[in-house]
């Protein structure tokens, strides 16, 4: 293996978010493997999360937020001298930031830049990267990008990079059909591949994620309510944190299930909590590549999941290593829960297959995928 200089660039590297955790995870993995990793955040986050001691080099490009470019659509706005001054300030600040970034990149003779988020690409595209390979990563589905303001930026910057990595094969195909000739697939790595698995006997259905509408926990609670009567000993535990907690607890109470449906907050040891359950549920409305699902499967749990994004089917196959139901179909979700709750053999069959299936997301496997990618851009 050739040791390389690797730069990971993200909008910020401090807040508690999906991409930030993936970046931290990836940096540690590559550093451990012997590469020289530098993680760059374009700016500071409003609220910083403690990622512990970081074994890799990391820095923030803009100590203060860059002054924003003023709105200059209308002629009047363009003629206003205050706007023009603001524009000049913005451009100067941007140039200085880009120069700082080029200086960081220049410390390596050769190497790779992985841009983790679309917004960050504006700085990388303007910096001097001729001696480096540039990889652009997208952490959302094709449809999510298409529906957002990021679409224009992706069109502008991502066709020319050496490689564009998507989370799923389906998304890569969609981009390719839109004329992107440089697509590839890269999975996120599980932060852990556990040694022990659940024994699948505890009467617990578990879910984990933000307490917010996009995770669809209201539907999960409804679905559980429909089958709770048939499975008296079973309970539903939803770990996470977020603004909807109160509403969800009220919903459980209205359904008379406040004893059986709990929202214990963040799990101290998620691995332990997963192993203490027998079924995992994913009721999300939107997802990229839902690693929580892969983590549960790694613990040997059979899952019921809404087919809400290509990422779900990138991880699980209905009938083989889990149960996949149409998105938002509460009846389908409850049916799936019912089947798994009733049949221990089924749980075992799917759970064993699930653990094998997500081996490819294990850290060593994903590291091997990255080494392949590094070799590919070197060709």
């Amino acid at each position: 293996m050739t040791a390389r200089d690797v730069f990971l660039v993200a909008n910020n590297i401090e807040e508690l978010g999906g991409v930030q955790r993936v970046t931290d995870n990836l940096a540690r993995m590559l550093q451990d493997a012997g590469h020289r990793v530098t993680v760059v955040g374009i700016q500071h986050a409003k609220v910083a999360h403690d990622y512990g001691a970081r074994p890799y080099r990391h820095l923030v490009l803009n100590e203060e937020s860059e002054p924003l470019a003023p709105e200059m659509d209308r002629l009047a706005a363009r003629l206003d001298p205050r706007n023009r001054a603001a524009q000049r300030r913005h451009e100067r600040a941007h140039r200085e930031a880009v120069d700082r970034l080029s200086a960081v990149f220049a410390e390596a003779r050769s190497g790779i830049v992985v841009v983790m988020q679309v917004w960050s690409m504006q700085w990388v595209a303007d910096a001097d990267t001729e001696h480096l390979h540039v990889i652009g990563m997208s952490h959302e589905s094709f449809d999510a990008t298409l529906a957002s303001t990021r679409w224009e930026r992706v069109q502008r910057y991502y066709r020319d990079v050496d490689l564009m990595l998507l989370l799923t094969h389906r998304d890569a195909e969609r981009f390719e059909l839109e004329g992107f000739n440089n697509v590839g697939v890269m999975h996120n790595a599980l932060s852990f591949y556990p040694e022990r698995t659940s024994d699948l006997t505890a009467p617990v259905v578990v879910a984990a994620g933000r307490y917010a509408p996009e995770k669809g926990y209201d539907r999960l609670i409804d679905a559980f309510a429909r089958v709770a009567g048939r499975h008296p000993g079973w309970s539903l535990r939803i770990f996470g944190h977020g603004p909807s907690r109160g509403a969800l607890e009220k919903q459980a109470a209205r359904l008379g299930l406040e004893d059986r449906v709990t929202l214990p907050g963040l799990a101290g040891d998620i691995e332990h909590e997963l192993r203490s359950a027998s079924v995992f549920a994913l009721s999300s409305i939107h997802e990229g590549l839902p690693m929580a699902l892969a983590e549960a499967m790694a613990c040997g749990l059979p899952c019921v999941a809404f087919d809400c994004a290509p990422g779900v089917r990138e991880i699980v196959t209905d009938g083989v290593d889990g149960v996949v139901v149409p998105p938002r179909d509460v009846a389908g979700l409850s049916e799936g829960l019912d089947r798994l709750m009733a049949d221990e053999d089924l749980r075992r069959r799917l759970g064993t297959a699930a653990r094998d299936s997500v081996r490819r997301f294990a850290p060593d496997q994903v590291l091997a995928q990255w080494e392949d990618v590094f070799a590919l851009v070197d060709r």
Binding site: H131, W151, D160, N182, H286
Partner: protein, 953 residues
């Protein structure tokens, strides 16, 4: 600051030499010093870096070789080979390059083309992963003068694919290029595949050999290179095409070489496909040159084509279109005039310059050769359906015999073919010459005073003050087209003026600028690619150009100022204020404003409620209905109805004082409902796609936006509902908490009750539809991704295939969503009709025998009829699983089969009668669920509940 990524190899660090390189690219050039460096650079900046470039210079005399050597000195991956004698073609340089190539894979590039940055890597990786002998990718044509890009046989490259030999995909013969492909070196060597030297069009022979020998062929959708096309190459000027007949001879010679090769290989079956390409592409191309030539030349080419066509089999002709077959037939008969007429149709805008003839209920291309049964079969063009078209939809051939220009006045003399004698001798015709700027809609008409009906044609002499007509039009750069407008019996046909290029005068037409006298533009006549007469700005000296531009700039500025001031005094904000004042006035009892699709249509439930009210007697009810229309004129609205233009002052006034509001989408937000007004919301369809607060847009919206949305819903006094499913989906997702009327939808009343046969016949006649065939209505839904992806809307149906299979007993009605902006190609006019501009889809549902849809809510309406439905869900995965998602699992509930391509659709339509039984149960369940509350009397019910009883605040 560095330029776009990958354009400056000089700055980059070169990879260490890898021995041997992974790919060899052979770049050939002859006296193309201007473009050669760019071509080479496009290889050196590839994401695949471990390649070598072998530049083969074909003994250039302009310094190309020296330029290449300079590049080689800076990049060790480049080597230059100089031929001592010019070979006159591409073959020898490529073969020499191949000899020098060291890598296990090879590609070829011409000096005037450039690669996409990822081309080499994509092809190489695919070759490695699939083990293919050759890998092919897409080509994009760059039209430098018009600054646009077009595809090239895009249909072959829509997805990744792997074929175990050419027989798996013989359409590959349509791609004879060698420059968009990667070849395995061993494969070329062991099969002795090289470019034939001393021959033109060497690519097709090389490619055929490669295709036939290849055991595995891979194709990728990625763009490989950009094929630069300049205007010169496309010019129809005679001098440029001087050697056309030699080119044709060469091309046929190569075809014969290919035939020999195929025969040697025992691959005569492939000749069928190779010939198909010859007839469809090559022959057409060369024949389009014929109108410019003298007779001896024409006859020589005809003979050459006929000689070769003697080797073309019936199987090939069976693959071709009807008129292509007629063309081949006429060439074989050495009938020059008839051949030229088929060329008019095939090459020049589907012009019917032939005299069609009807005999024994069949339609024939011409009355010649009909006594021979084989000829009869070929000349039978009944399936094209032209004889069923109304006269104005027949492509009337208008040919000009004299064109003169005299001081800005244009004189035209010509005749229009009275195809199939459709226009009777005593017809009360109006003729006019219309001039139109190509980018705009506005036209200037000059009546034609001298014309005569001579039975089989109408002759005319027209005089147009062209200078004045054009000066009166809005000007933008460009082209002005001329059409002959023939009006009769309430219809108009507008054929262009077909003209022989030799007749076009060279005098110019001076046009004054709009500001009068300041500048003069000069226009000149020319012949378009469709051999029609048009005018364009003559290339001028700079001074006039500058002044002309100034004119237009000032004109535009003036218009812009006008627009701004008008907005200020009549803008929506002012009207909103006025609305609030008007609301203080008392409500007018019985005043009802009706609107459908924001004024765009007279249709849907509001229409049927209105008609029920009219039938019950508006005077008796004390009702004053007014219809809102979006355009300036209320076209399509009943002549005796009161109307108001949407967003006009009167509209605001009426809305403020109306007792009833009836619509199907939502009146503008500015209208807050007053207590005395009853707002009857009929909505416009049962949802399949997530909407309202379930849709991503609103889901992610701020609380304020959601609140505003709910406020809009709260305006409704009552919502009409066709089924409980509608309540579960629409009502829930919009969080509507108001009153519901579970009585069905007024627009479905007729679908439930049925209409009598006379009504159906009359409607078919009104729409110019045949009454003797099954009407299949294709009604796809809107795909909201299409907008952002900026693709031109193309009907996802192969109409040619459908026509071929079903043309005898089916007539297709196509109704893409009105936002798609679709145009039906004229050649299908006999088989299909575009009904997207017909206001009321219910009328179409009433006359359709079969409905083909995908996810449109028309399926729920049509189910009321009990007639068969087919679901053409070619993008089922994408549509149902995308961001918005669906409420229903269509595959599970559909009351008809789901098909995913044209072949499947054809098969389903063929067995539609047997389908009824097979789907009877599903259909019944479907109706029960989605037409639950339909009574067939919904409109009457609304009238009774609301208009009879008066205000229901």
């Amino acid at each position: 600051m560095p330029g776009p990524r990958g354009t400056d190899p000089g700055h980059r660090q070169l990879p260490e030499p890898l021995d041997p390189p992974q790919l060899s690219v052979v770049v050939i050039g002859y006296n193309d010093r201007a473009n050669l460096p760019q071509a080479i650079r496009s290889v050196l900046t590839q994401t695949l870096r471990h390649l070598e470039v072998v530049v083969v210079d074909d003994a250039s005399t302009d310094g190309s070789a020296e330029v290449a050597e300079q590049i080689a000195a800076e990049d060790h991956r480049v080597r230059v080979v100089r031929l001592t004698e010019n070979s006159g073609g591409c073959s020898r340089p490529r073969n020499v390059g191949l000899e020098h190539a060291r890598a296990p894979y090879v590609m070829f590039l011409d000096s005037d083309d450039v690669y996409d940055r990822h081309a080499c890597k994509n092809l190489l990786l695919t070759a490695e992963r699939t083990g293919a002998d050759l890998v092919a990718g897409q080509v994009v044509r760059l039209h430098l003068d018009q600054q646009k890009e077009t595809g090239w046989i895009k249909r072959l490259y829509t997805r990744r694919a792997v074929y175990e030999g050419i027989r798996d995909n013989p359409e590959l013969f349509f791609d004879p290029l060698s420059t968009n492909k990667l070849y395995r070196r061993d494969f070329l060597d062991s099969n002795h595949i090289r470019f034939p030297e001393g021959v033109h069009y060497e690519d097709s022979l090389f490619s055929t050999k490669a295709y036939v020998h290849a055991k595995r062929i891979a194709m990728v959708p990625n763009v490989i290179y950009y094929w630069r096309v300049t205007q010169e190459a496309e010019d129809l000027s005679i001098t440029q095409r001087r050697f056309e007949i030699n080119n044709f001879r060469d091309r046929i010679a190569v075809h014969r070489m290919i035939d020999e090769f195929l025969h040697e290989q025992g691959a005569d079956d492939l000749k069928v496909w190779k010939d198909y390409k010859f007839v469809r592409n090559d022959l057409r191309l060369y024949l389009s040159d014929l109108p410019h030539r003298d007779e001896s030349y024409q006859r020589a080419m005809l003979q050459m084509a006929a000689d070769y066509l003697a080797t073309v089999s019936d199987e090939t002709l069976a693959l071709c279109d009807p008129v292509e077959r007629v063309c081949v037939h006429m060439i074989r008969r050495l009938d020059l005039d008839e051949t030229l007429r088929t060329v008019d149709y095939l090459r020049f805008g589907f012009k019917l310059s032939t005299r069609l003839v009807e005999r024994d209920d069949r339609l024939y291309w011409t009355d010649k050769y009909l006594d021979d049964p084989r000829s009869r079969a070929v000349l039978d063009v009944t399936s094209m359906g032209w004889h069923r078209l109304p006269w104005d939809r027949l492509s009337l051939y208008n040919s000009v015999s004299t064109v003169q220009i005299d001081r800005g006045r244009l004189l035209l003399a010509g005749s229009v073919l009275n195809q199939l004698g459709r226009i009777p001798q005593d017809a009360d015709l109006t003729l006019a010459v219309a001039v139109r700027n190509r980018d705009r809609m506005e036209r200037r008409r000059t009546p034609v005073r001298e014309w005569r009906h001579e039975g089989d044609r109408i002759t005319y002499v027209a005089e147009v003050d062209l200078a004045r007509a054009i000066a009166g039009l809005d000007q933008t750069d460009g082209i002005w087209d001329l059409k002959l407008e023939i009006g009769w019996d309430g219809r108009t046909a507008s054929p262009p003026f077909s003209v022989d290029p030799g007749l076009v005068p060279t005098e110019r037409v001076p046009i004054r600028g709009r500001l009068g006298g300041l500048a003069t533009a000069q226009l000149e006549a020319f012949v378009t690619t469709r051999l029609s007469l048009a005018f364009k700005q003559a290339p001028d000296d700079g001074r006039d150009q500058v002044v002309a531009r100034l004119n237009w700039a000032v004109l535009r500025g003036r218009k812009a100022v006008q627009w701004r001031t008008s907005k200020a005094s009549t803008g929506p904000a002012v009207k909103a204020q006025a609305y609030r004042l008007f609301r203080r006035l008392p409500v007018v009892p019985g005043l009802a404003v009706f609107e459908s699709h924001m004024g765009r249509q007279y249709s849907d439930s509001p229409r049927y409620i209105y008609e029920a009210a009219v039938e019950a007697g508006v005077d008796r009810l004390g009702l004053t209905p007014v219809w809102s229309h979006a355009k300036k004129r209320p076209d399509g609205f009943p002549v005796d109805a009161r109307t108001v233009q949407r967003e006009s002052w009167r509209y605001y006034y009426l809305m403020a004082r109306a007792q009833y509001w009836v619509d199907n989408q939502g009146f503008p937000r500015v209208f807050t409902r007053r207590r005395e007004t009853t707002y009857i919301q009929t909505w416009h369809g049962t949802p399949l796609k997530r909407m309202g607060f379930d849709s991503p847009a609103l889901e992610r919206a701020s609380a304020a936006t959601r609140k505003a949305h709910k406020a809009l819903m709260r305006r409704w006094s009552v919502l009409l509902v066709p089924s409980e499913y509608f309540v579960e989906t629409f009502v829930q997702s919009y969080r509507y908490e108001g009153k519901l009327l579970r009585h069905g939808l007024p627009r479905n009343d007729l679908l439930v009750r049925g209409v009598d046969a006379d009504w159906v016949e009359a409607k078919k006649r009104e729409l110019d539809l045949p009454t003797d065939r099954r009407l299949v209505l294709y009604c796809p839904t809107f795909r909201d991704r299409a907008r952002r992806l900026q693709r031109e809307y193309d009907l996802p149906l192969d109409l040619t295939e459908m026509e071929r299979a079903l043309g005898d007993d089916v007539h297709l009605l196509v109704r893409p969503h009105y936002l798609e902006g679709y145009k039906l190609p004229p050649k299908h006019a006999g088989f299909a009709t575009d009904v997207s501009r017909h206001h009321d889809v219910t009328e179409l549902l009433l006359i359709a025998d079969v409905l083909v849809t995908d996810y449109s809510s028309v399926m729920f309406d049509f189910a009321n009829t009990g007639r068969p439905m087919v679901f053409y869900t070619y993008d089922y995965e994408d549509y149902t699983r995308d961001e918005r998602g669906t409420y229903l699992d269509l595959a599970r509930v559909a009351p008809g089969p789901l098909v995913e391509d044209t072949a499947g659709l054809v098969a389903a339509l063929r067995t539609v009668d047997g389908m009824r039984e097979a789907y009877a149960e599903r259909y019944a369940a479907f109706r029960e669920r989605f037409c639950e509350y339909e009574t067939g009397r919904a409109a009457e019910h609304v009238v009774k509940e609301y208009f009879e009883r008066g205000a229901d605040g």
